[in-house]
């Protein structure tokens, strides 16, 4: 288990503050943050390459705050691999195996390669070959890093870090420099390595999809502070504040002007742009600067006059339409991407006053665009499920975000 407490790190003009973050043994935690949010600084601090101004770091029962990096046992993999250019692949992987026979090892969290067997008994060459085999780079052992592809280099860096059975594997945007297909392949590889070795992993990324694909949990770091920690699915749907919401890809963000509780879990929100939305969920509405954030793919869309059979009962009872958060509007543009299409929909403000027609971004899977006949100019009706209407604050500086997320009503 890895535990950080009250950590303060000063790096240039930048400061990192982590009140509390812990990784269970064998857990895969994603650290999500925009560029220059302090992610690399955090990893280097855990690895022992930076000294914190204050705070403590624990590896299991052992406090390592003041310990030199070579005593800690944290494996570090950089975005651009940082392979030793003067050593072959085999020498790179075996770098940490030299003269470490007597090195202390702690059971459980160590990342012993499954295919590597008991690396203890075998000699260094066997261990190197086993790791190379696990990562599919056994054909490259005598090559130098110079001529390898990005994906191959990343596998070498991974094998090199795993070789020393680190207590925690620190990955600094390991996939960002790779092209699309290689990234997906390496993503699968990371998942497999995690399963086979049981390594505890802290993986830095700025890519939400990566975080969703790999993480048991996700920690969001913005401006050097942890804003939210939780399951990736939960964080991506229930960000605590607007900045987190933007980071996890919530595009429809509106200012809340007023709120009225209907039931404990249900409230009616009046937005600044005049719209009324019903929100379902446990989050309380902040007294000041409340926002709603809605994931673009959670909004349902249909042609306004497309299917009379469905449209008529709702338009008859306006009450039910409101409960469904139904909004009429016009598609302004359609942007087709590989998997989904992104629609820009201008919604008619209630009461017909068209002063600042609110706009929504709606994602639908691509075939649906043709099936529903959506194009610029189409009149449509949007439906926003109340559970998809997420309320959050402007920006949190609450030290313990994880608690806020659990009992939003505190």
């Amino acid at each position: 288990m890895i535990r950080l407490e009250g950590l303060r790190v000063q790096a240039g003009g930048f400061s990192l503050k982590i009140e509390r973050l812990s990784l269970a043994a064998g857990e895969y935690v994603m650290l999500l943050g925009p560029t220059a949010s302090g992610k690399t600084v955090l990893l280097e601090t855990v690895a022992g390459l930076r000294r914190p101004q204050s705070g403590r770091i624990w590896f299991g029962e052992r406090e390592v705050t003041g310990e030199a990096p070579e005593k800690r046992g944290a494996g570090l993999v950089y975005q651009d691999y940082a392979l030793f250019p003067h050593l072959t692949v085999a020498e790179n992987i075996g770098f940490g195996l030299r003269g470490r026979r007597g090195r202390r090892r702690t059971g459980g969290t160590g990342a012993t390669g499954g295919t590597a067997g008991d690396g203890d008994g075998g000699d260094r060459g066997d261990r190197v070959r086993a790791l190379a085999g696990m990562l599919g780079i056994d054909g490259l052992l005598s090559r130098y890093p110079e001529g390898l592809s990005g994906g191959e280099q990343q596998r070498v860096a991974l094998a090199r870090a795993l070789a020393v059975e680190p207590e925690v594997l620190l990955l600094d945007e390991p996939l960002s420099a790779l092209d699309g297909p290689t990234r997906l392949e390496l993503q699968g590889e990371l998942r497999r390595v995690h399963q086979e070795t049981g390594a505890t992993i802290l993986h830095v990324t700025h890519d939400l999809d990566e975080a969703l694909a790999l993480g048991d949990r996700m920690a969001v770091l913005i401006d050097g502070e942890l804003r939210q920690v939780g399951e990736p699915q939960v964080v991506s749907r229930r960000p605590v504040d607007v900045e987190v919401a933007r980071l996890v890809g919530l595009t429809n963000i509106f200012v809340v002007a007023g709120a009225r509780d209907e039931t404990a879990d249900r409230r009616r929100l009046t937005l600044e742009n005049g719209l009324e939305l019903v929100a379902e969920g446990k989050e309380r509405v902040p007294a000041l600067e409340a926002f709603v954030a809605i994931r673009a793919e959670e909004i349902e869309i249909e042609p306004a006059s497309g299917r009379p059979g469905e449209a008529s009962p709702e338009s008859a009872g306006s009450g039910s339409a409101e409960r469904d958060n139904a909004l009429d509007g016009v598609v302004r543009s359609v942007k087709v991407q590989s998997v989904h299409a992104s629609l820009d929909v201008e919604v008619t403000a209630p009461g017909g006053v068209d002063l600042q027609a609110p706009r929504f971004t709606v994602h639908v899977i691509r075939p649906q665009v043709e099936r529903l006949g959506l194009a610029a100019g189409s009149a449509v009706r949007l439906r926003i499920p109340p559970v998809a209407v997420h309320v959050c604050s402007a920006a949190t500086d609450a030290p313990d975000c994880s608690r806020m997320q659990v009992d939003g009503r505190s």
Binding site: E70, F95, G96, E146, G147
Partner: protein, 272 residues
């Protein structure tokens, strides 16, 4: 393609200006080379005094370079890697010998290493002298040429990605071990290049040497003495020999430096 580009007028002007400078260096060198007939050359060079002076000069410059390697490489590493108060001052002090007249350097050294100098006097009392002997020559050469080694080594260390050292540490290497197994193998070319340059610079030293140790004669002093005593004809053969040697040394330095550059380029290109 970009590659086959017509030279602009500016290029022609620059080429012409550069050529003038090149000739300014080349013509005196060639003149010296062809001043003496092969016979005179052989006679002047075959002289026992010349060979002794040459050997002694090479050796003294070599000893100075070894001392600078042992003391200067750690300092160069610190200058490249660590930030500390007064770093600029330290850098300035290291570079000082580059800009002061070398005779001034000789005088300053004499104040310290002379028989009545700060260090010279106590050492003299136990019979160890630093003037008018081999040690004096080494000291003079060390003082004036060490910036070349320290600066080159510092630049080379700065080129080694410090994260490689960090990664080595996380893999269990002590700072010593990371330096030996990662930093040094990646920086040695630059350090060697700096050492060769320092050595060559030491050989050519005159000003500081003449003040600290007029005897035994280094090759530069020998040339000076022959010139003063017997004129250019006497000095030319030795000068020519030195020029040939210098050229060989420079070619060697290039041979060491150039592969390093090429490798860096590949590294950068293959990085992403």
């Amino acid at each position: 393609m970009n590659r086959i580009r017509v030279l602009s007028r500016m290029d022609w002007v620059f080429i012409f200006v550069g050529l003038l400078l090149l000739l300014f260096i080349l013509i005196p060198l060639l003149a010296t080379l062809f001043a003496s007939s092969p016979g005179e050359f052989a006679e002047g060079v075959g002289d026992r005094g010349v060979l002794n002076a040459l050997w002694m000069t090479f050796l003294a410059a070599f000893v100075a370079t070894v001392i600078a390697l042992l003391l200067g490489v750690p300092l160069a590493y610190l200058l490249a890697r660590r930030d500390f108060l007064g770093k600029n001052l330290v850098q300035g002090i290291i570079d000082l010998p580059l800009i002061i007249p070398h005779t001034a350097a000789g005088v300053a050294l004499l104040m310290v290493f002379g028989r009545r100098g700060l260090l010279g006097e106590p050492f003299a009392s136990v019979g160890v002298y630093f003037t008018q002997n081999f040690a004096g020559i080494v000291i003079a050469m060390l003082f004036v040429s060490l910036p070349l080694l320290v600066d080159t080594a510092r630049e080379t260390f700065a080129l080694v990605d410090r994260r490689l050292e960090g990664v080595a540490r996380t893999l269990g290497a002590s700072p010593w071990s990371a330096f030996r197994r990662v930093t040094l193998p990646l920086a040695w070319r630059g350090i060697v290049a700096g050492a060769v340059m320092m050595w060559a610079r030491g050989i050519s030293e005159f000003g500081a040497v003449v003040i600290l140790a007029y005897n035994p004669k280094t090759i530069s002093l020998l040339i000076y003495e022959r010139f003063v005593g017997f004129g250019t004809d006497a000095a030319a053969p030795v000068t020519a020999l030195l020029l040939v040697l210098a050229l060989i040394i420079l070619v060697l330095v290039r041979a060491v430096l150039v592969p390093r550059r090429r490798r860096e380029r590949v590294d950068r290109g293959g990085g992403r």
